[in-house]
């Protein structure tokens, strides 16, 4: 897909470039097209290798690195949503609809609601009462879904205050094998092509909510009422404590540990334990708290 193919958007095309996905600035998808309306986000452009093209204002255009594709428009959000809707209409860019493929071994409760199309459920799955499974959901073998859990929640997405700029959701949810989801969890459906992913052998406790396009690795434990923001990227074997918040687009390294009640707004390196609101290194935080004894 090239920027020059979208002549209906208007604006001035400075550098044409190929892209294979759409996304936000803080996101994990490769080779993606993003929009920028705030000068604070410019810093991230240089750090992220996965961005290939940018839509932005005339005033910010001079700060965009030479290597990236560039389209200058009056309203970047509107142009971006227009490209998204055009791609949704084309049906060869985003995941396609497929027929329901539900294993006969799966035990699905009579009060659970499952979408009519595009659901794949593996062998030996157990789906509890009042659970909901939306379209474009792939569930691996041996998954347990507790009562009241919602997978593939879809309420569109507003990207600005302007009410006619609206992103319909085109992605889905992918859940690995032997995942355990407890009661009343909410897992959002992703907006763009990259699915919301939950790796094998991961355990999610009650009331956990996972944002659109978030990626959770293998053998993670996410304890009750934790919130994982949109496009957050969690590696393998991570422990997220109760009531913790991981902000949008944050990356947590392998074997990272996030204490209870912490609010993480910056990337966490592998093997590190963070605590506090906002989260800092655990030992530093404890030393700081000792001052008030």
């Amino acid at each position: 897909m090239r920027l020059s193919e979208f002549t209906n958007v208007g604006g001035r095309l400075v550098r044409d470039k190929e892209f294979s996905s759409l996304g936000r600035v803080r996101d994990w998808q490769k080779n993606r097209l993003v929009f920028i309306t705030d000068s604070k986000e410019l810093d991230l452009l240089n750090r992220d290798q996965n961005i290939s093209a940018v839509i932005t204002y005339e005033s910010l255009a001079k700060y965009i690195p030479e290597s990236l594709g560039l389209l200058i428009v009056d309203n970047p959000e509107k142009a971006f949503s227009k490209i998204h809707l055009t791609l949704m209409a084309r049906k060869d860019f985003y995941p396609r609809d497929f027929k329901n493929d539900i294993s006969s071994d799966a035990v699905i409760h009579e009060t659970a609601v499952i979408s009519d199309n595009s659901v794949r459920i593996g062998r030996n799955c157990r789906i509890g009462p009042k659970a909901f499974i939306g379209p474009h959901t792939e569930i691996g073998d041996g998954v347990t879904i507790g009562p009241g859990t919602i997978i593939g929640a879809d309420w569109g997405n507003l990207i600005s205050n302007d009410s006619d700029i609206f992103l319909a959701r085109a992605g889905g949810v992918k859940i690995g094998k032997k995942v355990w989801l407890h009661c009343n969890c909410v897992i959002e459906r992703s907006i763009f092509g990259g699915l919301t992913e939950i790796g094998d052998y991961t355990y999610l406790d009650s009331l956990v909510s996972v944002g659109a396009g978030a990626k959770i690795g293998r053998a993670c434990i996410i304890v009750a009422a934790a919130i994982i923001g949109q496009s957050a990227c969690l590696d393998d074997e991570i422990w997220v404590g109760p009531n913790a918040v991981i902000a949008e687009g944050v990356r947590v390294g392998r074997k990272g540990s996030i204490s209870l009640g912490s609010v993480v707004i910056d990337d966490v390196p592998a093997g590190k334990k963070v605590t506090g609101n906002f989260a800092v290194d655990h030992m530093k935080f404890i030393d700081f708290m000792r001052r008030f004894k």
């Binding site: 009060t111 509890g128 009462p129 009042k130 507790g146 009562p147 009241g148 355990w180 407890h182 009661c183 009343n184 052998y201 355990y203 406790d205 009650s206 009331l207 053998a219 434990i221 304890v223 009750a224 009422a225 074997e237 422990w239 404590g241 109760p242 009531n243 209870l260 009640g261 912490s262 605590t275 506090g276 609101n277 700081f288 708290m289 008030f292």
Partner: protein, 248 residues
């Protein structure tokens, strides 16, 4: 299995005493093996619903092992699972899940051991469980208890083996981790987190947004992340406000 031994090993595991850790793992593995070898053979009795109880047609109540007292009110989309006892005048609001298995997961190297629950959940008379709450049943032949006339707001998580006393108020978004004890007439504010094995004393107040990691004495007021004495916390905040550069 003796309760004291279990408690000691649990504490040892929690404080990461390296000597006791392998033993704790062995103990838990043995316990899990025992549970698998001897599954609950007793047949669960058929669900009993007391007179005057109103149950919404869209609510789901397990066909076995639930006891509901008189004049209870179960709203739409509520789910009540096995091994649950509701006494009289209990109210369970929309979308709550009552009596699910406890979330007990242990990491052993690369693997995660999940453990089966065997306990019960008792909700005493006059208690109110707000919308979209989750209350787990106990793990090892004990009870999770919500006391008389206690009120739980919405989106609250009450973990396994928690004891909530009489006339407590737990506000929206709070979460009580495993084996925590909230004594009579205590208040837990909005979006608080209470760590496991803690005791919140009688008439104590936990301010909104606190993260409690230590026991709260009776009648005390705590706030902050991590929670400290409330008046001390306010002094610190005033100090920060008075300085041009923050103390961090």
């Amino acid at each position: 299995m003796k309760k004291g031994v279990s408690r000691f090993l649990r504490k040892a595991y929690r404080f990461g005493k390296d000597m006791a850790k392998p033993f704790a793992y062995i103990f838990f593995a043995a316990q899990e093996y025992y549970l698998r070898k001897h599954p609950d053979k007793e047949k669960l009795p058929v669900t009993v619903i007391g007179e005057g109880s109103k149950i919404h047609p869209r609510a789901f109540i397990a066909k076995q092992g639930v006891v509901i007292g008189r004049n209870c009110l179960i709203e739409a989309d509520a789910v009540i699972l096995e091994h649950t006892i509701l006494e009289d005048n209990v109210r369970v609001m929309q979308g709550s899940v009552i009596g699910s298995d406890g979330f007990v997961r242990l990491k052993v190297g690369k693997h995660i051991i999940s453990r089966h629950s065997r306990g019960k959940l008792i909700i005493r008379s006059g208690a109110i469980i707000g919308p979209h709450c989750c209350v787990d049943r106990a793990f090892w032949r004990s009870n999770t208890v919500v006391g008389n006339h206690s009120v739980l707001g919405s989106n609250i998580y009450v973990a396994h083996d928690v004891y909530i006393g009489d006339k407590c108020i737990i506000f929206t978004g709070a979460m009580l981790a495993g084996r925590a004890k909230v004594d009579d007439e205590a208040t837990v504010g909005f979006n608080c987190s209470v760590s496991n094995d803690l005791i919140i004393g009688k008439r104590a107040i936990v301010f909104p947004g606190s993260v409690v990691t230590k026991d709260v004495p009776p009648g005390a007021m705590v706030s902050g992340n991590f929670a400290i004495n409330h008046s001390k916390h306010m002094l610190i905040l005033r100090e920060i406000a008075s300085q041009s550069v923050g103390i961090l």
